[in-house]
Structure formats: C-alpha cells, structure tokens
C-alpha cells in the first residue's frame, strides 16, 4: 500500500465532474437526437418531394387520360353528330350545349368541332381552338399565362364506326383540371405552378419539367420535430435546473456538513476542543451524515471520557512511576528526571545544589531479624520523619532499600547541615521500640554541595555524597559533609571496581582466590586453607576493602558468594587445593538465610569425601534471621560441612549466639588477638573465653598471628589452629605449589 500512489479528488470537484459529464452526455444525446431528427426530416422531405413529383406525374398522366376520355365521350355525344350533320345552329350549340348538359367539365374552357377535312365547323368561330385542325391531336400550349391542354378526337361514323366524319377539339385549363381530377396529398395543391414556356409541348415528360410545386407541411413529422425540439429545450432547462438543484442539495446536505465534519476532525486532530457549528449543518440533514455527525460526537465524547480517564490514569501512572509505593515519597525515576533537569538548569544559571544522602544503619540486619514487614514499617516511618523534617517544597527521594536523597536548591551549607541535624534528631527521638526493634535505629547522612556552573562538579555531587555517607557509616559522626580529603577513597566506588564486582557476580571469571593456610597448632601442619576473595582487574588485583563496600551498597552478597563457591569448586576440581587439605569459605548473612542453601553448595559435596570444607559465618550474619540461619547450618552440618564462627568477639553477644548456633570452629577476631598483647587482664579474659570454647568442644582458630610472640600467646591460650601472616600470607595456589606443599605435608607427617 505504501508504494501505491492515490490521487485524491474533493467531493465537490467529483460532483461538478459528474454534473459536467452529465451535461455533456445530455448535450451529446440531445445533439445526436436533433441530428437524427434533422436526418429523418430531410429523408421525409426527400421522400415527400419524390412522392410529390410522382404524384404530379400521375396527375398529369391522369389529366392526359382524362382528356382522351373526355374527347372520346364528347365525340360520341349524339348532339356532336347532330351538329356535324346539321350545323345550322352550331354557334348556339357550341356556346350553350356542352356546358349546359354537363357533358364537359368546367375545366374544359372551350370546344370546337371540325369537319373531316380539318376545318372548323364555323369559319368565323370565336373559338380559341386552332383552325384548321393541328397535326398533333394532343399538346400543351400556353396563352395569357395559362397552360392549356388541347385534345382533338376524331368523330367516327356511328354506323360504320371507322369513317371519320369530323373531329372534336377541347381546350382544357391544365391547372384547373389537375386540381379537379386529382386530390393532391404529397404536393401542396396551391403551390403547383407551370413555368412559362414557349411553343407547344407534346410530351408529358417535357411538361413535367415546367411544373413546380411545394410539398405540403407534414403535420406528423413537423409536429414530431417541433415536439422533439420543444421537449429537448424544456428538458435541457429542466436538466440544468435539476442539476443546479442537485448541486445545491448536495452542497447543503452532504458537501457542507462533510466539510464541517472534516474541519471538526482536523480540530480534533490538533487536539482543540470539539465543537460542531450549527450553521454548518442545514435544518434538513441526510440520515447518513447525521448518523456520522452523531457518531463523531459520540466518538468525541467517548474520546473525551477516555482522554480524561487516560489523563487521570497518566497522573496516577506518573504518580506511581514517580513515587515510591511504600513510603509515598518520590522514587528513583523521579530522582533521575529531576536530577537531569537540575543539571540542565545548572548549565544555564548559577545554582547552589545541596545533596543529602540518608541511609539507615544496619537496616538489612534489622530487616532480616525482625522481618520485612517491620523493615518496611521502619522505612515508612523514616521516610515520613525525613519528609516532615525537610522544608516545604523540598523533595525527598527513595533511591532503594533504606537509602533516601533530598536535593535542596539555593540553601547555604550551614542551613543544609541544620536540616540534616534535625532529621538525625527526629530519627533518634522516634520510639522505634514500638515496632519491636530493640536495637537502636540510626541513620547516616552524607552531604555534598555544588555551587556555580561547573557541571562536572554537579555531576560529582552524588558520588561525593556517597563518599560522605561511607565515612559517616564508619564514623561516630553520622553527618558527614564531603571534603577533598575523602577523594583518596573514591576509588572504592569507582566505576572500574563496580564493573569488576558486577562481572564477578555475573560470571565469576575475574575472581581470583587467594588461599591462606591454617595450621594445626599441635603439629603446625596445614589443616585447611581459607579462600580469600580477590578480583582481577586487568593487570592488578582488587582487594576486599574495595570490593565489599560496592557489594554492600548493591546488596550483592549472596550473588557474590555463589560465584566464589563456583570458583572454589573449580579450584578443587583442578586440584589447585592440595588433596586432604580442607578449605574454608566465607558466607555472607544473605547466603546463610537462603531457603535452599544446601543446593547452592551442592557442588562442594563430592569433595567432602576426602577433605574438610568449612563454612565461615560472622556474628552479624547469625543475628539476622537466627532461626533460618540455624536451620540451614544444621542441615549443612549434617551434610558434612564444618561451621566456623568468624570474627568472634567483634559483635554484640558472641557467647549467647555461640551457645545456640551449630558451630564447630570458633575463629577469634584479630582484635581479640591484638588485645591479648596489650595487657594481662585482657589476655586473661580472652584465655578464659578460649578455655570456655575449648571446654565446649569447639575448635579454636586464632587469626592475625603476625609474629612469634603472638604465636606463643595463642598457642598458650590453647588455640587448636593458627592463622596469620607470620605463618603464611594469602597467596595464589598453583598446581606446583600444591605438589610442593603436599610433599612437605607428607614429609612432616612422616617425621
């Protein structure tokens, strides 16, 4: 369809075209009819002329025959014989008797009797007939403008019938006779004329040359022609009037309403209000047009309703799209749009932009501990408090999880800082214990500013706020404004690190595990290796201190654990980890509470046959979702995994959790080891704790052994396993190392 060119013609032009075509056809038919009528008339006239000519010929022939008959009758008349025998009273008889007795018709205007010798009966006759008898006994002559037929007939003896006793001569007025003996139908009777001629005419054909005539009007054909012309003219007028009427009707009933509808549709297309002007529509309307108009009106009304509905839905949708359904504050989409607008605004005019980043401390732990419902309620309350604390008109956005942002324009930093303080105070003062949360709920606030027109500075504001937030999280000062000295740690949030983390999460190809050996305290032999995460980023490694802020910020703990487990399985399969040597893997709290954790770890199951596989969990992970974590760990224990409680002594209630947890190994936090070296009291307490743990039949791993003194202390403390830089730094394990270590282990074992 796209390739087909369509020629459009307006309705009015189409109608005019049809009208003109109709007129042309009508004219053509009319002219053709006229032509035909003229042809018929000419044919009829020619026929009439021929018929008239033939009629004249017949009449003249008839006249000739009549003259002969008259002559014979006259010659047979007994009184003619009487006169020929006894012409005493001939003059009287000739003048009186023939006409008195009606023996001869009136058109015989004169007679004469001749003796057998051709002389007239009376020499001094007043007769106009020739004397003596002419040689030709029948001829036409002309005198005084009148044409006569002279007919001479012999008078035979009545007894012998062959002897000619005389002649009769009659003079016939040709025109009078013609009219008398013939009723003219084809030639117009009164139009018959005989043109003057000289001398005598002896043949009828010659006479016919001198006869002129006119054909009478043919009433039928003339009437038919007249009727046709009359009808044609009247029909033409009627046709024109009809066409004009049709045009007017069409224009007022169809064309104008249609154009009005088209105009209104164009109005609709432009999105202007739909109105139908009454003046565009006549009082009489075509049903279809009226239906179309009504349909359009209904359609428009329906469209308006749909439009209104769409508007409200759009508003609702916009609200839904730009508001966080949980808290009612603006969401990430709204933030992105507003931030884009602010950047555009910032380009054109000088602005002071303050960027406040709020984040709940330990929200994930609280959420996991008290459930999502409590967590959601906590987020709702925090959002409400922040929104109420901010000034009217200041927008609060929830970027995700427990992270909120407020962008405040054209306010000085000290004012912004006071706002942040008020927010902090409102949160701190709120009785979250009503939600059943026993732990204190706090927020950290990172603030960054941009002033002027430096667009790069503005674009850096969110990252600066992140850095400030990062510092606030780590600091007791929970409100941190970004400063230049925070820039050195910016790398943790650099895009390259984030990309590396995301690659590790997605496919694990860049995970490069370092293994740090953990020795048995009694024989100093390698018991197992702790897998420590490194990410390969081009030609250098990224370490956990840069990895985990990103992981935590994006809640990628469980996904990252899956990639690490996959890598460990790979290393076990490739025998990078020596046979019979165990391996310990750190699991995050998020992984620990996975409903089907055992399936996540199924790749490790085959290796449990000949080595120990230790799963290290932290106190923090244990306190969140304690029941689920406990259940998962028990299930793993049953599968043959050993559970190690990592960083023991860095949390809140290590002893309480330890008693309830299915733990096989306790790893003292490095801070506890360091504390043993500081004073005797601490060492004594730690040694008692160690004694308690060992008495409870746990294995005890001492981390952070970085020198001989520390080694001796922890050995004395009773640690069953040793770990630290002094004994071995985390490093790559290659198959060669593995072989060498294997030999050492075997050798030492032999000794």
């Amino acid at each position: 369809m796209a390739g087909k060119r369509t020629t459009t013609v307006s309705l009015r032009k189409l109608l005019i075209f049809f009208i003109i075509t109709g007129i042309l056809i009508f004219l053509a038919i009319g002219l053709n009819l006229l032509l035909k009528v003229q042809q018929i008339t000419e044919t009829v006239n020619a026929k009439r002329q021929a018929d008239a000519q033939h009629e004249i010929s017949i009449a003249v022939n008839k006249l000739k025959h009549e003259a002969e008959t008259l002559g014979k009758k006259f010659s047979a008349w007994e009184e003619v014989h009487q006169q020929l025998i006894s012409p005493t009273y001939y003059a009287y008889w000739r003048d009186q008797r023939p006409h008195a007795t009606s023996k001869l018709p009136d058109y015989v205007i004169d007679i004469e009797l001749y003796h057998a010798n051709g002389n007239a009966l009376m020499e001094s006759s007043s007769s106009t007939l020739p004397n003596p008898l002419p040689i030709n006994h029948s001829y036409f002559g002309r005198s005084n403008g009148i044409t006569y037929l002279y007919q001479f007939t012999p008078v035979h003896d009545r007894i012998t019938m062959d002897n000619i006793i005389g002649y009769t001569g009659i003079k016939i007025d040709v025109m009078q006779a013609l009219h008398h003996i013939h009723h003219f139908s084809f030639a117009q009777s009164d139009s018959i004329r005989i043109k003057p001629f000289s001398g005598k005419i002896f043949t009828l054909d010659e006479l016919l040359k001198y006869i002129t005539f006119a054909t009478p009007d043919s009433p039928q054909s003339d009437k038919l022609e007249s009727l046709l012309k009359w009808n044609l003219v009247h029909f033409s007028i009627l046709m024109v009037l009809l066409l004009v009427f049709i045009y007017i009707i069409f224009k007022y009933l169809i064309s104008r309403p249609l154009y009005a509808l088209i105009k209104q549709i164009n109005v609709l297309r432009r999105g202007e209000p739909f109105t139908i002007a009454d003046e565009d529509f006549s009082s009489i309307s075509v049903l279809e047009i009226q239906t179309l108009q009504d349909s359009l009106l209904r359609y428009q009304e329906e469209l308006d309703r749909v439009h209104d509905k769409l508007d409200s839905q759009n508003i609702e949708l916009w609200k839904m799209a730009h508001h966080d359904p949980l808290t009612g504050v603006y969401n990430r989409r709204a933030f992105d749009e507003d931030w884009k607008n602010i950047i555009e605004l910032f380009i054109n005019q000088r602005l002071s932009v303050s960027y406040l980043l709020f984040d709940c401390d330990h929200f994930k732990a609280i959420n996991d501990t008290y459930g999502h419902q409590t967590g959601d309620e906590l987020i709702r309350i925090v959002a409400g408090l922040l929104k109420n604390t901010l000034r009217k008109g200041d927008k609060l956005y929830r970027l995700g999880g427990d992270e909120f942002v407020a962008i405040i324009l054209n306010s000085p930093p000290d004012s912004i800082f006071r706002i942040a303080q008020r927010c902090m105070q409102m949160i701190n003062n709120y009785p979250f214990t009503n939600l059943g949360i026993n732990e204190p709920v706090a927020i950290s606030i990172g603030i960054a500013f941009a002033d002027g027109t430096d667009i790069d500075a503005l674009k850096s504001v969110p990252r600066h706020a992140d850095l400030a937030m990062y510092h606030a999280k780590k600091s007791s000062q929970k409100i941190q404004c970004y400063s230049e000295n925070m820039g050195s740690e910016a790398s943790i949030l650099s895009s390259s690190i984030v990309n590396a983390v995301m690659r590790a999460v997605n496919n694990g190809n860049n995970i490069h595990l370092h293994y740090q050996k953990i020795l048995r305290a009694d024989n100093r032999q390698i018991c197992f290796y702790e897998a420590l995460l490194r990410l390969q980023n081009r030609d250098k490694l990224i370490y956990p201190n840069e990895i985990f802020p990103v992981v935590h910020r994006h809640s990628l703990e469980a996904d990252l654990d899956r990639s690490i487990i996959k890598t460990v399985v790979h290393d076990l399969e490739k025998q990078i980890i020596p046979d019979n040597a165990g391996v310990s893997i750190n699991l995050s709290a998020a992984t620990l509470i996975l409903p089907e954790l055992d399936k996540r770890l199924c790749g490790l199951l085959p290796f449990l046959q000949n080595r120990q596989i230790i799963l290290e969990v932290t106190e923090t992970s244990l306190i969140s979702h304690l029941k689920l974590a406990t259940a998962n760990l028990q299930k793993l224990q049953q599968l043959g995994f050993l559970i190690a409680l990592d960083d023991f002594g860095s949390g809140y209630s290590s002893i309480r959790y330890l008693a309830n947890m299915p733990v096989d190994i306790v790893k003292f936090d490095i801070e506890m080891i360091n504390a043993m070296r500081k004073d005797a009291r601490s060492r004594q307490i730690i040694e008692h704790v160690a004694s308690l743990i060992l008495d409870a039949d746990y294995q005890l791993v001492a981390e952070g052994i970085e020198d001989q003194q520390t080694l001796e202390l922890v050995v004395n403390m009773g640690a069953t396993h040793l770990q630290g830089y002094y004994l071995g730094k985390p490093c790559d394990l290659t198959p060669a190392d593995t072989s060498r270590i294997q030999r050492v282990v075997n050798t030492k074992g032999t000794h």
Binding site: E78, E79, H81, Q82, I85, S86, T88, Y89, Y92, W93, R97, A100, T101, D157, R158, I159
Partner: protein, 292 residues
C-alpha cells in the same frame, strides 16, 4: 338410354304445337340499323317472333328511346310471348340515335319526319314477312302512331294499342297554347328559323327549336287527336293510367267517346310504374290474344 314409343309420341306432338305457334318461344334480340329516307340511319330493337302471331311495332314516347322503361318492358313482354317485336328509335335528326334527346337540345326534327320514319319501319316490318302488324305506342309515341294510322297506314296494320294517349300541349293551358302558337306562327311567317324555347309535351318552356318544328307537333291538339281516332279503320285500344295526372277525366271520356276501346288501369300513372306494369302487360296480352 332408350326412348319409349310413348316418349317419341310426346316429342312429336310438342314439335307440332311449336310449328303451329301454339307454344311461344322467346324471340331473338337484335339491334338493327337501317338507312332512313332522310339519309340518316335509324336504330331499332328487333325481336323476331312467331310468324303466326302479329308483329308488333312499339314506339317510344317524346324524345326518348326504346330503352325507356315502359317501352322496354312491353318489348320484353311481347318478345317473351313469341311476338315479333320492332321498337325503333325515331332519329329526331340524329344519325343512329340511341340516346334520349333533352328538351333543351336543338330540335330540328318534325312530326312529319317522325311519321315518315314510322311508315319506314312498318314497311320494314312487313318486308320481314309480317302480315299482321299491331302498333303499340306510349304517350307521344301513341300520338305519332295514331297520326300514322289515321292517315295512310300500311294494310298489314291491324290494330293500334295506345297507352297514355297524349296530345301535343297537354301541360299548357289553352291560353298559353294559343299564345305560343300565335308567336310560333309569327316566326314562321317571318321566316325566322331561330331557336326559341317552347312548351311542348313535358318540355316546359325549354323545347328549343325553330317555330316550324314546334308547330309541326303542336298542331296535334285534342281535337285533332280525337278526329284522327275516328278516322282509323281498325281496332284501337287505349290503355290509360287511372292516376295519370297529365290528363283529366274529360280527356279519357273524350277518347272513349271517340270509339276507342278504353282500358283504365286504376292507380297507374303515366308510365304504369311499379305493379301497374303487370296490369299493363296483362292488358297487352289480353288485347293481342283477343285480336288474333
């Protein structure tokens, strides 16, 4: 097919009766033309009949011919009854005249010429073998035959039957007749041969003729007719129509007194039209049979 003796005998008797003229056979019709003494030819209807019956000469009325109804009917009747019939047309000055002559035609014929032609035809009939000639006339024809019979008729003429017996001026009053006669005599005396219209017989003022012609007919007045009638030596039968308005009763009485055998056909007009023609014919046959 065989004829018995009885049949042959009947056929012989029939032939004998035919020979005796006791059984009449229709006559053979013929138009004959004979040269008259005037030099003109005369035309006549001739029906040859039985020689044992009288030959009948029938003469037409004034200016008519033998084709006139009354005359022709008589010819047919007589011919059918076996009579030899001769019915001439008087020439009236016209050669071989076959048509009637109108009153206003030019009349140059005279009573004398008519009588001459009558005598010619009687003689012609006798020449044809007629021994007994009966004359039958109608109207002026009766007058001409009467005139002929009263003068010197052929001896073979034995009877005159005059129907609607007329005289010359039967339409005019006596005064008018006298005046017209006087004028005509004056013209004749002066030698004026011009044509004048006269009243003669049924020609009322339009008989166009010279005075001499008129006078030849007009001299046959009632008196002359009655006188002539008395001179005739053979039977004269006069048959008149009882309703003939041309004549008054006095004329009928006068005729009767003149010695003629008068037969009046009641209700008949001058021409015995319609059913009266049968009465006339019956009278003819009766008279002829009686005079046999």
């Amino acid at each position: 097919m065989s004829l018995s003796i009885r049949h042959i005998s009947l056929l012989a008797r029939l032939l004998a009766l035919l020979q005796l003229g006791l059984i009449a056979l229709p006559s053979q019709a013929a138009i004959i033309k004979e040269k008259l003494p005037s030099g003109l030819y005369g035309v006549a209807d001739y029906r040859a009949g039985s020689k044992n019956r009288p030959a009948v000469m029938v003469l037409h009325g004034f200016l008519t011919t033998f084709n006139f109804n009354t005359v022709f009917g008589a010819i047919e009747l007589l011919a059918e009854n076996g009579y030899t019939v001769l019915a001439p047309n008087l020439s009236l000055g016209i050669n071989a005249r076959k048509q009637g002559l109108p009153c206003d035609a030019i009349h140059t014929h005279t009573m004398e010429q008519d009588l001459e032609e009558t005598a010619f035809w009687v003689n012609w009939l006798v020449k044809q073998g007629a021994k007994n000639v009966v004359l039958i006339g109608h109207s002026i024809g009766s007058l001409i035959l009467l005139a002929y019979a009263s003068d010197k008729p052929h001896p073979a003429v034995t009877m005159l039957i005059a129907t609607s017996m007329s005289f010359a001026n039967n339409f005019n009053s006596d005064a008018e007749i006298k005046k017209q006669l006087r004028t005509a005599h004056e013209y004749k005396t002066k030698g004026d041969k011009s044509l004048y219209p006269y009243t003669l017989s049924y020609c009322k003022g339009n008989f166009l003729a010279p005075a001499e012609v008129y006078l030849s007919y007009s001299k046959w007045t009632k008196q002359r007719v009655l006188a002539a009638l008395k001179r005739i030596r053979f039977p004269v039968h006069i048959i008149m129509g009882g309703a003939d308005k041309r004549f008054d009763k006095q004329w009928l009485d006068q005729l009767s007194r003149a010695g003629a055998n008068m037969i009046i056909v009641p209700g008949a007009n001058h021409f015995f039209d319609d059913q009266h023609e049968f009465d006339l014919h019956d009278s003819f046959l009766t008279i002829l049979e009686a005079g046999k």
